[in-house]
């Protein structure tokens, strides 16, 4: 694991209102690391000693149910902070966090964060704001990957969500590449069915699939599918 000092405070999107002084102080005690694609950053029930802010890359939050099925709860990108609940409650993490791509993280020491929370009401306010936002995001995700609509609809939502959140290159190729196996549990279906649907999306000219990379051809068409 390569480590080096974080360079700026811009990454703390989740803590926007934090005073400059506090930001500098927190960052002074932080370190930046790069983890490769697929790394399990922390696991459900694991006690955390760090709070992680994503500087570059993409991660997912997931849980495994009693029957071993993986539930993907949300995706996270630059500026989003992982580990807030575990740091606040000092209990084990409630979710597992995994890197979807090579990811650069800024790591803050739990105790430094807790100290700041105690003596800095402004920081505490930011923390509350971030948690409110987490509730909002959870609800939003539930709406777009909802159980009311068919899987075609949810797949269109997923593609639009990935495009919006992580972007695409000039040819429309999604920046975050998910294995079909990783897309399936987001939508609550099987690999095979997703592949069948991707093919039909391709036939309709909505996307293109080249070497299993997905290229968005018609954002408008995908949006149309979500109505």
């Amino acid at each position: 694991m390569e480590t080096y000092k974080a360079l700026n405070a811009e990454q703390l999107k989740d803590f926007e209102a934090l005073s400059e002084v506090a930001k500098k102080e927190l960052l002074a005690s932080s370190e930046s690391i790069i983890i490769p694609k697929g790394t399990l950053l922390f696991e459900e029930n694991e006690p955390l000693t760090k709070l992680y802010s994503i500087e570059k890359g993409a991660c997912k939050f997931s849980k495994v149910d009693s029957s071993g099925q993986e539930h993907i709860l949300r995706f996270l990108g630059a500026g989003e902070v992982m580990g807030k609940r575990a740091v606040w409650t000092q209990e084990g993490a409630k979710v597992s966090a995994t890197a979807l791509t090579e990811t650069q993280l800024c790591c803050f020491d739990k105790d430094a964060i807790l100290k700041h929370l105690e003596k800095n009401p402004k920081f505490c306010r930011d923390f509350l704001d971030a948690l409110v936002e987490d509730v909002n995001i959870n609800e939003h995700i539930r709406m777009i990957f909802c159980i009311h609509k068919g899987i075609k609809y949810r797949l269109a939502q997923l593609l639009l969500y990935l495009l919006d959140k992580f972007g695409a290159d000039e040819k429309g190729k999604l920046r975050v590449r998910l294995k079909r196996e990783d897309m399936a549990p987001v939508l609550g279906t099987s690999q095979e069915y997703i592949i069948n649907l991707l093919k039909s999306f391709k036939n309709f000219g909505l996307i293109d699939v080249i070497k299993s990379e997905i290229y968005i051809q018609s954002q408008a068409g995908l949006i149309e599918m979500t109505r």
Copy 2:
């Protein structure tokens, strides 16, 4: 709307760590109301001037998507507080709240709450705790009403959830009665299919249905269905 003074501080389950003094002070400025079954307490985007704690009864949080479909996000019972986010952010509510049964609420003035949050770090801590819990609950609900398993499984989960959360009388009759029309959007299916499944549950001896009221006959059997 009948109104009278709230009698005790026990109902503030969401704010357990609140000091006795603070509790008394808050309660002094509160009023208790009773709203009939079906009342829309507040609606998505509506600015709130109150924070509501459920003293008795049951409510639901829901959202309506662009196609008019209702998404039920969670159910709430005694001790749970509604309106936290709207009070904190001073923005419109993100969800609609509706009474499922006749419900007794303790209403706190938004400004009194905000004042307390500012000058009382302990209360602020409770508020944060309650929001952390909201994130946990959202995740839990997503797991049990998940898109991975069939509707039989989700219906069993719903019945167990209602039994656990709101209880049943000595004959096993669920205390909270949901219309089939209200159960459908929780599970992401149609009334008719729910009715068909309830019938098959009845045939298996898991439940009984008398005058459309549901009686839990075999909790163990229902649990078995969720595996």
